[in-house]
Amino acid sequence: MRFVDEYRDADKARALSAAIAGLCEPGRTYTFMEVCGGHTHTIYKHGLEDHLPEPITLVHGPGCPVCVIPMGRVDDAIHIAERPGVIMTSFGDMTRVPGGRGSFLDAAARGADIRMVYSPLDALKIARRNPDRQVVFMAIGFETTTPSTAVTVLRAAAEGLRNFSVMCNHVMIIPAITAILDSPGLRLDGFVGPGHVSTVIGCRPYGFVARDYGKPLVVAGFEPLDILQAIHMLMLQIAEGRSEVENQYARVVPWEGNPRALRAVDEVMEPRPRFEWRGLGLIPRSALRIREKYAAYDAERRFDVPGGRVADPKACQCGEVLKGALKPWECKVFGTACTPETPIGTCMVSSEGACAAYYNFGRFSRRRVRDASREASR
């Protein structure tokens, strides 16, 4: 497995760490945000923070799809699911996300017909097999997932299916990055850009991050060395006084993205004026809804939804974690009241959530880990 070895090579990792350390200016610190939940997972699985020089800190962004779903939207979905004759479908992770009235699983326990699907096309399959029931797909996810929902709606329309609709919760990464860049008091030196989202949108949309905010952004893959290399590329840009968008993951991400996927999304969906993100609040034009042309497939038009906002539980600090302002272990309920088995907040639900990543890999505090290893080596 030559390629794997190349991307896991310990010598290369050490060499990269040394090169990164060599680029650190004395007395200066560097904070980079990895936007994507997949990166958070890799970073904690491989303990990459422990391989980075002290001045470099990684903070975790809002790129975990289920983590940013606000409780009000879960309640709206459950409201639909509990209507007579409805079969609600969604991805597995979504079933455990708590709303104000519990999760999908709680609603299922109360009698709602809620089914996990692997693909939106599976929801379509359920609709074909149950012509006397209304089948709703609760769509979540960033640009990686949106084209799949769009193609599914196109297919339902082509077949003239009358018992299938989508509750669209697709969100967009660019407005989220903008909201983070505009949030007061946040100091970031650059971004590790998402890999799979970029297979769809390409690298060009990140241009404003480098141009208008002066922050470098490097699109990165998911191997440990991918991320170390991306950090090295960010450090090189800073050392050379540049701020540009670079593509470390060119072996998978085309610079222009996937035009066909973008066309399918544009055909079926349009930006909402605003959308509530868990922890980040209302962000203008940050999510998509089904266009009028496909209104027959829009669950929010087919069923009345309350559309209320539900405040997050007081104890939960997912919002601060999603903005990178707080490390998961600094949250009051992390690992005690809030665990992957009994999540209070969304960041603990999905394996891509920062809290779940920390919890599952037992990494509670970088400093504590370092102090412990220094102690052990004495």
């Binding site: 096309l121 599976d122 084209p147 996937n258």
Partner: protein
């Protein structure tokens, strides 16, 4: 990966021994041949990738452990053996 002759929007894929049909509508301008590797997300092929990259990704996923096992189980449970319903499903 195999391509059924009667459908242009589907390909039969093998993910760590689990076989199912995935939609290839989104692979504009990237012709597929049997044996090719694709990046799959929620039942759709998003982009074509080279074999080395595919093997690296697979190895990585297998290294994740339980989360990947759960994903494969979801894939396995998500539909019957591809081919049996290709005429009407997908």
């Amino acid at each position: 990966m195999e391509i059924p002759s009667d459908r242009t929007d589907l390909a039969k894929v093998d993910v760590s021994g689990v076989r199912r049909a995935v939609n290839i509508d989104l692979l504009d301008g990237q012709p597929l041949r049997p044996g090719d590797w694709v990046l799959i997300h929620v039942g759709f092929a998003l982009s074509k990738i080279d074999e080395d990259e595919a093997r690296a990704a697979l190895e990585f996923l297998e290294g994740i452990g339980q989360a990947y096992e759960d994903e494969l189980a979801a894939l396995r449970d998500s539909g019957p053996e591809p081919g049996t319903e290709l005429g009407t499903e997908g």
